[in-house]
């Protein structure tokens, strides 16, 4: 009996080992959050509210379904928090990942109930949940990235800071780059879930392309998913197949499929490019034997925004109820630092247009209506 039992046990262990080995491959891309736990003890020792060195202050975030390794804005937000934690070693930083939409409210609540001083909700998908949670924990501070939370009277909510970005302006600039680089006179845009936010990317990009050359065709398709790389690859395949040679994506994890497809085609000798989003994606994606398929990226400095709001809050200046827009002017958006693939001509043009946008000479459209108007005036 005993022997049998041992055998059974060992087979279970063996199975566990095998499965764990499979899991370990993921380890590179799934950093287990140590960042905050290291500081936990130190932070717990003193409870001085918002001391200079940040002792006792905690700033944590809830990711949306993309997870903290989405190579996109969740990752960027966590990078900002990590940096904040490094600069102020006594501060406690941490994150919780959400597996699906039903996790948002419990996760936000969890952080609020732990007494977190500042809780970030990363992504507009959490808009409704953060409103409810903020109402239930009125003494806690929250910050929402990418959207504006308003109460029933359309007034901002006192304990939520709203962090938004001028994505249309940044997208305009990568649109300019795309227009100057396309050889087939066709470019494409892949969106995540169709929404006012992603529309800002789309319309800004289209406006940038058309501003340079109104004869260029622009294909637009939405994957209706932020986390489906195979769908992204399918769409990219169709667009490249139809003659586009540069595709810009604003689709989170779905966009990774675009890079896969672009690399495949580049290896097959085709001259195609992809444009990344949110982070300088050329640093992590798109590489192949003879270079990188990522032409440029529209960076959105979620990390800076998260860092700045954390620092302000720690110093007692929580921007509650305010809507902070990070635009071209304060380098909240812009084109990526990696510019190996971009021609000097295009960079010059980008700099010129950037100044024009800052000076208000170009009004970049955000919605479909504004875009139609913009196009009509060209």
């Amino acid at each position: 009996m005993k022997k049998r039992f041992m055998m059974l046990m060992s087979s279970v262990l063996a199975a566990g080992t095998l499965l764990a080995a499979c899991g370990e491959g993921d380890e590179d891309t799934t950093p287990v959050n140590d960042g905050g736990n290291n500081n936990e003890n130190e932070a717990a020792e003193g409870n001085n509210e918002a001391a200079e060195d940040g002792e006792g202050f905690s700033s944590k975030m809830v990711t949306d379904v993309g997870g903290v390794d989405d190579r996109s804005f969740n990752e960027s937000a966590w990078a900002g928090l990590t940096e904040f934690g490094e600069d102020y070693p006594d501060v406690e930083v941490d994150y919780i990942q959400s597996n699906d939409a039903s996790d948002y409210a419990p996760n936000l609540n969890r952080l609020a109930r732990e007494g977190t001083d500042l809780t970030f909700a990363i992504g507009f998908l959490m808009l409704d949940d953060i409103k409810t949670v903020a109402e239930q924990s009125p003494d806690q501070n929250f910050a929402l990235v990418d959207d504006v939370a308003t109460g029933e009277d359309d007034e901002p909510i006192d304990n939520i800071a709203n962090l938004t970005f001028a994505e249309h302006e940044g997208s305009f600039l990568v649109g300019v780059v795309a227009a100057m680089h396309t050889e087939t006179n066709q470019v494409g845009f892949i969106g995540g879930v169709e929404s006012p936010l992603i529309k800002k990317f789309e319309n800004g990009f289209k406006a940038g392309v058309k501003y340079v050359d109104s004869d260029i065709d622009i294909a637009v398709q939405y994957a209706q998913d932020f986390n489906d790389a195979s769908r992204g690859q399918q769409i990219a395949d169709t667009m490249y197949g139809n003659g586009a040679d540069i595709i810009y994506h604003a689709a989170g994890g779905t966009g990774n499929g675009l890079f896969t497809e672009a690399v495949d085609r580049a290896q097959g000798g085709e001259n195609v490019w992809a444009i990344g989003v949110d982070q300088d994606q050329a640093l992590t994606e798109g590489e192949w034997e003879e270079g990188n398929v990522i032409l440029t990226s529209m960076v959105k400095r979620v990390d800076q925004a998260v860092y700045q709001v954390s620092e302000d809050t720690m110093n007692g200046n929580f921007p509650g109820g305010e809507i902070i827009e990070f635009g071209l002017e304060d380098e909240g958006v812009g084109i990526a630092e990696t510019r190996d693939n971009v021609s000097d001509e295009a960079i010059e043009a980008v700099e010129e247009y950037q100044q024009m946008i800052i000076d208000g000479e170009i009004e970049v459209p955000q919605t479909d209506e504004e875009y139609e108007e913009f196009e009509g005036e060209l």
Binding site: L19, G23, D103, N109, V193, Q224, F226
Partner: protein, 354 residues
């Protein structure tokens, strides 16, 4: 004593328990290998369910739709049908109940039952189609129901996006008269989203048991499940029973969707991907061996695992994917209950041989 446990009726209970035990054991091994302390991990998991009335309330809230989707899968399974379309039936049920909740004005006593019923009907319709195709044209229900899931999701998304979009990704909130939300239950559990739907789910368990085991129709349904040809020979209409079974199964799923729409969220939103509530129902039904009480208990387990998983990453630093792995392992061991039986019988014969 041991003999009785394994040979008697209790065996049905022992297999899932062993499977759960092995699932957790294997999960512990994986945690060890990935550099986490399994004891801390499981303490965090348990605390994430029982540590705070809020967490407990959220767990009950999470298990509510799982009960319905489990019942839906089990009901069809009793008639020998594999309803993989619970996900889609749940989505249309969610949407239609919210639609009724928004557009109709009526006192609560009419409005709320009407909204739930509308959700159940929509789900039933979504189950009826594959039922008819199976009965009439012998199209395999697994294929049809899988495809119906996609149709459900994209059609619902289309309607929300084009006709009902209120802010960002969702519809307007439903009228209060159609809401299952309960201030009482919510306050009781420290502002969790627990709602009256939980009690309805318990009632639904009783309803399924009653239909299947206490009515003539239920006997027919089960009989078709056991042996189609014998049932046909005995004068039962196999085709009618297949259609009926799929429709009722869909109605359970649709009602589950209504619980999510009217209770948890009070709105419907554009779904970027499947909710997985329906697919998890397959696991719930399997672990609960397609019995009402079993489904209730396994829905609690799965709801608790999902709720506690968030605490595991927050408190113990364990990746949430690990909980998915544990769930998968539990299902794996349940599915291999044959293996457990076989090992046991070998152990037994060995003993007797001595």
């Amino acid at each position: 004593m041991m003999n009785n446990i394994f040979k008697g009726k209790l065996f049905g209970l022992v297999v899932p328990l062993i499977a759960i035990g092995f699932g957790f054991l294997a999960g512990a091994v994986i945690m060890l290998i990935s550099g986490n302390n399994p004891i801390n991990g499981y303490v965090a998991l348990v605390q994430g369910v029982f540590g705070d009335t809020y967490y407990f309330g959220e767990t009950l809230q999470r298990m509510t739709p799982l009960i319905f989707s489990g019942l839906a899968v089990a009901f069809a399974f009793r008639t020998g049908l594999l309803n993989i379309g619970v996900e889609g039936q749940l989505i249309v049920g969610w949407f239609v109940s919210v639609l009724v909740g928004i557009t109709i004005e009526a006192p609560m006593i009419i409005h709320l039952p009407l909204a739930i019923l509308a959700g159940a009907l929509a789900g039933a319709l979504w189950g009826f189609v594959p039922g008819v195709l199976k009965a009439r044209f012998q199209v395999h229900e697994v294929i049809v129901t899988i495809m119906m899931n996609y149709i459900a999701m994209h059609v619902v998304n289309h309607f929300i996006r084009n006709y009902m979009l209120e802010s960002g990704q969702r519809t307007a909130f439903i009228n209060d008269t159609a809401s299952l939300s309960s201030d009482y239950l919510s306050t009781l559990t420290n502002f969790s989203r627990l709602h009256w739907g939980f009690l309805i789910a318990i009632a639904a368990c009783v309803v399924m048991w009653f239909i299947l085991w206490k009515t003539k129709k239920g006997f027919e349904l089960r009989s078709v499940g056991y042996n189609k040809h014998a049932s046909s020979y005995a004068g039962m209409s196999v085709n009618m029973n297949i259609i009926l079974s799929m429709s009722v199964s869909g109605a359970f799923a649709g009602a589950g969707g209504a619980m999510v729409g009217l209770g948890t969220y009070n709105y419907a939103n554009i779904l970027p991907s499947f909710t997985n509530l329906g697919f998890d129902g397959i696991a719930v039904a399997l672990l609960g061996s397609s019995t009402s009480i079993g489904i209730f208990l396994s829905a609690f387990l799965f709801g608790g695992l999902k709720e506690g998983a968030n605490n595991m990453q927050g408190q113990a630093g364990v990746a949430p994917e690990l909980v998915e792995i544990i769930i998968a392992l539990i299902i794996f061991f349940v599915a291999s209950s044959y293996l457990i039986r076989w090992i046991y019988s070998r152990v037994q014969s060995n003993k007797e041989g001595k």
